[in-house]
């Protein structure tokens, strides 16, 4: 690098000199990461935020999505993200089936909170083991045409490995938001959380609505799984790492708000990239989850919560 660096001097700390390129890169990296986090959490935002289903196994479906994208890519050479989008109806069906079981066993009996939680813990383990038995325990990764491509705008890098998932994720999140606000189905989903009786009176079966919405949330998990395996190597047990993250994003952004989830994802992404760049990467999770704890203690409705 050249000796002359443009620097940014924060007003509060005039002695501190931050190279502008480093700062710009930190912001971009944070946004790209946030885009991926949004894809991971948007499904949780639907199931947990709107339907009140504490689906702790959400990351397991993400990993399942990763492996399906991997196997199709490995055998047939299709792009993993395209594969995941094409197969998302299957994930949707899987989601509706799981909700059926969940409803019949727990929700109908009014025992959802705790037992439902244990149920999803069980699903998490079963999925993990099934993946181990089928694929083994090695790390898997896919390579795509854009995996090793990086665009440069001045001194700012845009690695396509993160940009492509980011763009598709944004499209997906906006799509989900439009679906939820502009369609009858979407408004029914929003109503499910508030007044089931009113829905019934309108001739809508809330269970059916929740079933479809849960299917939608699992469909997003499948797509997020493809992003994950494009971004980093995957092995069956790493899903657990994302449980905390997905729920943190939802609560931070505000329960049941898709825009809130997007904002929460960006906040965590940027917090992580700033901590990594300027402070010490080791503290990044503490900063993220510290933010979450502070939100819970002082503004429990989240950033954009109703």
């Amino acid at each position: 690098m050249s000796g002359r660096l443009t620097v940014f001097r924060p007003r509060l700390f005039p002695r501190m000199e931050i190279p502008t390129a480093l700062l710009a890169n930190a912001i971009i990296a944070g946004l790209l990461l946030g885009g991926f986090y949004a894809a991971v959490s948007v499904g949780v935002s639907i199931s947990f935020g709107m339907l009140d289903v504490v689906n702790i196994a959400h990351p397991a479906f993400i990993i399942l999505g990763s492996y399906i994208a991997y196997i199709v890519n490995d055998r047939l050479g299709f792009d993993p993200i395209v594969v995941s989008l094409a197969l998302s109806p299957l994930f949707f069906l899987l989601g509706t089936a799981i909700y059926r079981v969940y409803y019949l066993c727990f929700e109908r009996r009014g025992q959802e909170s705790l037992r439902g939680l244990a149920f999803f813990f069980g699903i998490l383990f079963i999925t993990e083991v099934a993946l181990v038995l089928v694929f083994g325990v090695d790390y898997r990764m896919v390579s795509t045409r854009y995996s090793d491509v990086t665009w440069r705008a001045g001194e700012v890098d845009f690695p396509m490995r993160l940009v492509v998932p980011f763009l598709v994720s944004m499209a997906m999140v906006v799509g989900v938001q439009l679906l939820l606000t502009r369609t009858f189905f979407g408004r029914a989903v929003l109503a499910v959380a508030q007044d089931q009786l009113a829905l019934r009176l309108m001739g809508v079966n809330p269970v059916r609505v929740k079933e479809l919405a849960f299917g939608l949330s699992i469909a997003t998990a499948g797509v997020a799984g493809a992003f994950l395996i494009v971004i980093q190597p995957v092995q069956p047990a790493i899903g657990r790492e994302f449980i905390g993250l997905a729920f943190a994003v939802c609560v931070l952004g505000g329960m049941g708000s898709i825009w809130g989830t997007l904002l929460g994802a960006f906040v965590l992404g940027i917090a992580e990239s700033f901590t990594s760049t300027f402070f010490g990467p080791s503290w990044a999770p503490a900063v993220s989850f510290g933010l979450l704890l502070a939100t819970l203690a002082f503004k429990p409705s989240g950033l954009l919560g109703r």
Binding site: F121, A286, L296, P300
Partner: protein, 315 residues
């Protein structure tokens, strides 16, 4: 039975078991027994908040790790005696539970659950970056060569201590359940708003039970470094403690102190057996499947099922 009488019986039984076990020469009994007892304490402790009030604590591993790392810190500082470690670990974990409860127990249950998960992550990062307790490299805790009370090996001692601590946890759980406090907690579980309206100091009760619950989880962790001789953050904060401490009360039944005991003994023993009989990935699968089966088919746990059968017979 009054609480005092129960306490007396529990400790006498624990002591008798501890003494009788010394006749067993097979060391596997002690290591397996230690693990099952560890889960008895964790499950009983978790149930004091989770079962009695319905507030789910995901962070059992964090409180367990607080206990374990208090021991490591005291060992590194001045090789404190085991009793000091146990008391300090319990107190520190209790204080952490108090803090967490104070900040988040006024919110809906799910928020408390998420906050406990977040606390686990934050504490994990602190431990990883705290070199005094070994940081990411982990810490070695050497078992003393001299074992008190003429026991042949150190595992015999920590097994016996664990037995007494399990008795203590059960006594605390039963006393909580049968007191005015317990009735208040049950009212919170059934309908928190109604309880609040009828003058139950819900927040105070919840915070108190969170403190008790977390303190006992910490206590369970205090002997763990001696059991393993080597503690590092990812094993001390392992997800399996969080999962088991929720799964065991669920399987046993959450309404009374006996449910977690049964669940822990059952699931803990099954896990031990599966581990040494079915030697493959099926291990985790069996735990997962048991969990799903139980919550779908016997939603109130074993105790709930027994209760229901008894009632059916009476009618």
């Amino acid at each position: 039975m009054s609480n005092k009488a129960f306490a007396a019986v529990a400790f006498v039984v624990a002591l008798a078991l501890a003494v009788a076990s010394q006749l067993i020469t097979n060391e596997y009994f002690f290591t397996a027994g230690y693990t099952v007892l560890l889960f008895v304490i964790l499950a009983t402790a978790w149930n004091i908040l989770g079962g009695y009030t319905g507030y789910v604590n995901f962070g059992s591993a964090a409180f367990f790790a607080i206990g374990a790392y208090t021991t490591v810190a005291l060992y590194n500082a001045f090789k404190a005696p085991l009793a000091v470690m146990i008391v300090s670990g319990t107190l520190v974990a209790g204080l952490a539970g108090l803090g967490l409860g104070y900040l988040t127990l006024r919110l809906r249950g799910v928020f408390f659950a998420i906050a406990s998960l977040a606390l686990a992550v934050v504490l994990y990062v602190f431990v990883v970056n705290w070199d005094f307790v070994g940081g990411a490299r982990g810490a070695y805790i050497l078992q003393p060569r001299e074992v008190p009370f003429g026991m042949p090996r150190y595992i015999h001692l920590i097994y016996s201590v664990q037995l007494l601590m399990a008795a203590l946890a059960l006594v605390v759980a039963r006393a909580t359940e049968r007191s005015t406090l317990g009735r208040g907690l049950a009212a919170i579980r059934d309908d928190e708003l109604a309880a609040e309206c009828s003058g139950v100091p819900t927040l105070r009760l919840k915070i108190f039970s969170a403190m008790m619950s977390c303190a006992l989880m910490g206590m369970a962790g205090t002997t763990f470094p001696y059991y393993l001789s080597y503690v590092e953050p990812s094993s001390a904060f392992s997800l399996s403690y969080a999962v088991n401490s929720i799964a065991m009360p669920l399987i046993g039944g959450m309404m009374s102190w006996i449910g977690p005991l049964i669940g822990a003994v059952l699931l803990g023993t099954v896990q031990q057996l599966v581990q040494v009989t079915v030697s493959s990935a099926w291990n985790l699968l069996i735990v997962g499947a048991l969990l799903v089966l139980f919550v779908t088919l016997a939603p109130n746990g074993i105790m709930g099922w027994v209760e229901a059968r008894r009632r059916r017979k009476e009618h």
